[in-house]
Symmetry: C2
Subunit: 123 residues, 2 copies
């Protein structure tokens, strides 16, 4: 089960990296890489439809992954976006809690302000 | 006065692009470009301290600007970040308004939720 979760995390991570930096790949790289990561086709299936060797597809996919990981290592934009997303979710949780427990508005304002300034720091 | 504001906007925009994509330039490009955009040195001053021609500095700076603008044209990350930043500022304005006018909490919750889901859409 753990192996499965890890494999799924890896796929999500690749899709996220592609979502952020994919436009920096060439058209040909994008075409092949999308089939592998987004459409979940096998190397052999892609090789057949593109008329290149399985090894060729394998190498191209690896090169794309390294390029995307290289951009993230330099720019950290996926990491920053995930942090902001988590902080916005925190705002929603504070609001939900407030609906349930009807705390003092002043307390809520202070908490939301704390989160929103943490978001600004991230940007 | 308009010309001045535009020049300042241009400098801010260049600094912002550099902040986002600067790590994708080479070490040498970064060294020169930082002196021009962040330290506000003239082409001649940089040429002298680096021991290259003024024209050489000029060309390198132009190449850096085009590269950074090219990344933004493909990835739009500065644009997205500025939108998120503006929306977080909106949350703060809603809270301030609330402190002043003491509206119904339900109304405030709804408005902040609207903004936070708009942020999530942006990410």
């Amino acid at each position: 089960m753990i192996a499965k979760v890890t494999a799924m995390d890896k796929i999500l991570e690749q899709a996220l990296l592609y979502d952020f930096y994919g436009e920096l790949l060439t058209e040909h790289q994008k075409e092949i890489y999308e089939q592998f990561v987004l459409d979940d086709l096998s190397l052999s299936e892609i090789a057949e439809s593109e008329g290149i060797s399985r090894q060729g597809v394998h190498d191209l996919v690896r090169r794309c992954q390294r390029a995307l990981e290289g951009y993230e290592a330099k720019l950290h934009l996926v990491e920053r976006f995930l942090t902001v997303k988590e902080k916005v979710a925190q705002i929603d949780r504070v609001l939900e809690e407030w609906e349930r427990e009807k705390e003092e508005p002043e307390e809520i304002i202070e908490r939301i302000r704390g989160i929103s300034s943490a978001i600004i720091e991230e940007l």
